[in-house]
Amino acid sequence: MKPKYFKPIVFLACLLPLARLGWKAYNSALGANPIQVITWSTGTWTLVFLTITLSITPLRKLTRQYWLIRFRRMFGLFAFFYGCLHFTTYIWLDQFFDLHSIIKDVYKRPFITVGFTAFVLLIPLALTSTQRSIRWLGKRWQLLHRLIYATAFFGVIHYIWLVKADLRKPLIYATILATLLLYRIAAWTLGRISTANHVQNQASKLDNSTLAAD
């Protein structure tokens, strides 16, 4: 299927977690503590979309499905979207705009501090996700968008620190994230080696040609 038709379908699929939450809320099926369920669900989906976004590059290179890049921005923006919902749930439903206690929380509670940091770091990425920003920022765009690694890292720490005893779920995300980061380190190292070889070859070729010109 061409990405052109595929894209709206994926877009709608990305909205399913929200639709499901809305449906459950409408039917009073969110259990005894609905606000907690909404907080957990939106937080989980933020992490899921962050990992999906980060897996696009390895996936397209390993499978040679280069068209996958066309979905990366959408997934990234959905990570931001669910992050916004998560943040709003905290500000509104959980704290009910109690600014004093929110500031205290962000300042005093490490798990909220890292969660808040993760969210704030996503904002410039969402703002510079347009084609125009990419052109305008040039090489700096890529540098700026490496912030997603920090967001994903802080997001996972945020999850680990809020759990009371059962670390299984947060550790699943930690493992996935570690794998995705290791892939990049490996790719980067290998890339450097092959570039170095390439440069060396080029250089020796150049030497030869210079010599020949003499």
Partner: protein, 318 residues
């Protein structure tokens, strides 16, 4: 309120013991249950068949002056939002996972520094003078409920075994049986679950052993057949499925204290001024309410229990 029942139920209306023992036969008796429900009130109409299997036998009890008149948390929330790590660390799972747990036969050993140590059978315990105690329950996670427990003061059990003067603390132990408790197949916490109280806390009139909820025997996911309820302490002090109560001269180490000593202390009194290291304890969400309410010192039981801690630094003794 979901249920309002008189406590003078004739014994003829109580489900026969053999039906009560066996879930399948209990379900087979659904016809009898229908009549039961008509007489008993509206609760059963709200429940699915599997939930009917979970709901227990009616208990005979008196009302208590120590109950709060606050709005009670619905039965469905009390039975579907449970911190019961022996089943699962997910609060929504024990309701389902506890369905086939059979809390019979059951005995509770009361031993240690006592003149007359004794093993109590659950049937003997159910024959104690039962009371309804409607208590606030504040979870260390920041939510709360109002629960109509049925039980009796722990002191009336401890008095039967006559604690020796050397006894200073009480150590409680839960059932350790990974075959019946799927959560115990993983080492999330150190099993069995252990809790402790100072002897004067254990003898306090507010401290009860609960055997029921909303007028009926305790649902499995709420700690059947017997659990501890100490309303001025965080919920995790309320150890479930108790098999042993030991009078000791040392301060017992609770399971959660072993897990994270800087987060969960021996006392674990509800205290809005002493935060959990990772989150505030100043406010709580009452299940069923939208906005948070301030948490009260000793969960609102300060008048009755504050004197137990006179002169103690509660920031240190958290």
């Amino acid at each position: 309120m979901l249920l309002k029942r008189s406590s003078d139920i004739p014994s003829s209306e109580i489900t026969p013991r053999n039906l009560y023992f066996n879930r399948r036969r209990f379900l087979a008796g659904a016809g009898a249950l229908a009549g039961f429900a008509a007489a008993g009130g509206s609760l059963r109409k709200l429940l699915t068949p599997s939930e009917i299997a979970l709901a227990g036998t009616k208990l005979d009890y008196n009302k208590s002056q120590l109950s709060t008149s606050e709005k009670q948390t619905p039965f469905n929330d009390i039975t579907h939002y449970n911190n019961y790590y022996e089943f699962s660390a997910d609060k929504y799972e024990p309701a389902e996972l506890a369905k086939n747990f059979n809390p019979r036969p059951w005995t509770i050993k009361v031993e240690g520094l006592a003149n007359k140590p004794k093993t109590f059978d659950i049937d003997a315990i159910l024959k104690m003078q039962l009371e309804e105690r409607i208590y606030r329950m504040r979870c260390v996670e920041g939510w709360s409920m109002v629960i109509p427990w049925i039980g009796f003061p722990l002191s009336s059990l401890l008095n039967q075994v006559e604690p020796k003067p050397k006894a200073k603390f009480v150590e409680f132990t839960s059932l350790n049986d990974p075959k019946r408790f799927p959560g115990q197949q993983r080492g999330v916490l150190e099993w069995p679950y252990v809790e402790g109280l100072r002897l004067d806390e254990a003898m306090h009139p507010l401290t009860i052993l609960a055997v029921g909820l909303y007028g009926e025997t305790l649902p499995n996911q709420d700690g059947a057949p017997v659990r501890l309820v100490v309303p001025w302490k965080y919920g995790f002090k309320g150890i479930k499925a108790i098999v042993k109560i030991k009078l000791v001269d040392y301060q017992p180490t609770s399971t959660w204290t072993k897990m994270a000593p800087n987060e969960y202390g021996f006392y674990s009194n509800v205290n809005p001024n002493v935060d959990h290291p990772r989150w505030s304890q100043a406010k709580e969400r009452r299940i069923g309410e939208f906005t948070k309410r301030p948490t009260l010192m000793f969960n609102g039981y300060g008048d009755q229990v504050a004197s137990l801690y006179t002169g103690m630094d509660l920031k240190k003794n958290y």
